[in-house]
């Protein structure tokens, strides 16, 4: 139970800095012109942030699942 709680808290806390990174990247994109080479760089950052976000969701579900598994033993 404690482990599940710890993982949940950690995952949730990580979402805030991820938000900051994503927003900063979006802001940067706004000030780049259409053909800029940097566009793909920032789009790449956003993609990775979204990927991490999914990983965090999976981490939380996994923690909940293994928790129920343990309880059943």
């Amino acid at each position: 139970m404690l482990q599940k709680q710890f993982i949940e808290n950690a995952a949730h806390d990580l979402r805030t800095p991820l938000s900051v990174i994503r927003m900063n990247a979006e802001m940067a994109l706004l000030s780049l012109h259409e053909g800029s080479e940097l566009r793909s760089t920032f789009l790449g950052i956003i993609e990775e942030v979204d990927r991490m976000s999914k990983m965090l969701s999976e981490l939380v579900s996994q923690a909940a699942f293994s928790d129920t598994q343990r309880d059943q033993v």
Binding site: T16, R22, E26, L30
Partner: protein, 224 residues
Amino acid sequence: MKVLLVEDDAKLADSIKRGLELEGYAVDVVPDGKKALTRVSLHRDDYDIVILDLMLPSMDGLAVCKEMRAKDITLPVLVLTARSEVESKVNLLLSGADDYLVKPFSFAELSARLQALLRRPHENLPEILEAGDIKLDLGTRRVSRAGTTIPLTLKEFGLLEYFMRHSNQVVNREDILNHLWDFNYVGFSNVVDVHIKNLRRKLGGKSGDGILETVRGIGYRLRA
């Protein structure tokens, strides 16, 4: 349009504030739940919408939301949450939130959802405000008079939007300041007069048509 942003993470708050200011909103950031509740109770008319992070010191965001509704504050509330589980989402909507976004969210989505919440009821599209022969398109952020486009600065646009939402009503300088400038604004109180002067000039119109008139001793009124 003014937003009350209740967010204790300084970096995230700053990021959101800057983004919203680029879109023409005035933003007040309050990093504490209890203080935000006090602020919105005392100044509810200054704000058009509240963005509320659930993870807050001193008072949980959900409790803030419930308290607001209990105090009859009907401002639209958009919640920022770190929890994507369904029960959590259901719970926050039932606690009085109008919408939510799970972190990390797309700023473009935040902006669109804010606009959707600010839309008056019965409207299907981003609003186009009209007063006399002036048209203000909130979607494209364009203003035209008798068909001719008028370029306005962010503040002028916000000012005109405010007047058009209160057309034919007298609006005083203090209301305008409270609604379009954040509470940290340290400047000369004639800032409103300066912007109105510029707005009048740009609106032009048939000479002396005075569509934006001064009501002596009280404020201003847009005649429509």
